[in-house]
Amino acid sequence: MAGHATIRIDLSSGVPAYRQIVDAIRVLLVEGTLAPGSDLPSVRQLAMELGVHFNTVGEAYRQLAEEGWLDLRHGRGARVIARGAPAAAAPERIEEFRTRMRNMIAEMRACGIPATKIAGELRALMEVLR
């Protein structure tokens, strides 16, 4: 395991808390901070740390398990598992990601961030998440 496996959520955000937890943990999984074999905190423990309901964390763990990242063992928390290379994404899925990225980049441009800066940020992120 490398780096600090800290997740951060914003309860005032319009994005549901479980979605933020999924996104934050997925980043740690993709960048390798959480390696296969790592144990995640129990649903109860993580819910307590974040001050959210059990079901919120339970839903996030289930989503990650469905994506193939976690093995949920009843009463024993969650363990990161080696995930096989996913099949190539369908064209519709790629189109969905493109739309989301376009919206986000447009929002960044609207905030006054130069295109070169955005491209640099994307390249740096891609290096980390490679």
Partner: protein, 332 residues
């Protein structure tokens, strides 16, 4: 001055110190049970509220002292009332300060963080330090067993307010060893409390001094009660035991003060509307059993969590059962 009055006087002095320091014995982000931010207490208004609170507490302490000095007989009733008065007065003064500070509450931070790293274990590495106190009563039991023939046929089991024995019991396995089993039971309850606090609270509040103080109290109890259990062979001097208790309480207060006044200690983001008078926390949506106190130091239970009731009820039941056992064993 009777022993009861001495004990009452010492306890009032300790009470006074704690009550006067109460505004400081909180995380620096909190002030009179309200999340105000660390800078608020240094403002002119913040200092004025604190000054008024302390003046009222001092007035109640003075009233308590006058009451106790006026009773030349030094009755236990006067001592009890004298001990309670500063608490009542401080509660009234606190509610007033709480209402003054409440309009200055800061909004609850919406950002929450959690460390998923397994490097932060559920129990800290030093938790094993909670186990050695269990050996003290066992060791003294072995000592008493080895000196069984030196125990008189009847020995004192209770002492009055002046330190003189006023009840005796016959020597038997039950009467001699009951205080040691009582001690082991109390230590077990405190061990459960220690573990429950660490497992049932957020890791961000771990730097509070309370888990360490609980372990310290276990050492204190093991020595104090085991020494009391030595009564059939040797009567420990009450003054030494009282001095030991005062030294422990003073040390705990100083340590807790130093830990809690550290501005790096974060304030737990518990919603303001789940607190009553900054003292009672009721949040059914919070899985935590114990949350950081807003008044004083340490933890309070989440009254909205049914498991907190189960634990607290079990703890109190254990205390009553142990007290009942001791009274029964000593023929009380």
């Amino acid at each position: 001055m009777t022993q009861a009055l001495w004990i009452a006087t010492v306890s009032i002095v300790l009470e006074g110190v704690v009550l006067l320091l109460l505004p400081n014995l909180t995380p620096s982000q909190m002030y009179f049970g309200i999340r105000t931010g660390a800078a608020f207490r240094g403002t002119e208004f913040g200092r004025r509220v604190c000054r008024q609170y302390r003046l009222q507490v001092l007035a109640w302490l003075a009233l308590s002292a006058v009451l106790m000095m006026a009773d030349s007989s030094g009755s236990e009733l006067t001592a009890a009332i004298g001990s309670m008065l500063p608490f009542v007065g401080a509660a009234v003064a606190f509610v007033r300060a709480y209402r003054q500070v409440r309009p200055h509450a800061q909004p609850l931070p919406a950002i929450r963080e959690a460390d998923l790293s397994p490097r932060t274990p559920d129990l800290p590495r030093w938790s094993w330090l909670a186990l050695p106190p269990f050996a003290v009563p066992l060791a003294i039991m072995l000592y008493v067993r080895a000196h069984w023939d030196e125990i008189p046929a009847r020995f004192p089991s209770h002492f009055n307010g002046e330190g003189r024995p006023d009840r005796w019991v016959e020597r038997s396995e039950r009467t001699v060893f009951a205080p040691f089993w009582f001690t082991e039971g109390m230590l077990l309850l405190f061990l459960l409390l220690f573990v429950a606090i660490l497992l049932g609270s957020r890791k961000m509040t771990r730097p509070t001094a309370i888990p360490g103080i609980i372990v310290g109290a276990m050492y204190m109890m093991s020595v104090f009660f085991s020494a009391t259990g030595l009564t059939p062979l040797w009567q420990p001097p009450a003054g030494v035991l009282i001095a030991l208790t005062v030294a422990f309480v003073t040390g705990a207060i100083v340590w807790a003060y130093r830990r809690n006044s550290d501005p790096r200690l974060p304030a737990e983001p518990t919603p303001d509307d789940c607190w009553t008078l900054g003292s009672f926390y009721v949040n059914p949506n919070d899985p935590a059993l114990f949350v950081q106190k807003r008044v004083g130091f340490g933890y309070t239970i989440n009254l909205g969590n049914v498991w907190a009731y189960v634990f607290f009820g079990g703890f109190m039941l254990g205390m009553f059962a142990l007290t009942f056992f001791l009274k029964w064993a000593m023929g009380g």
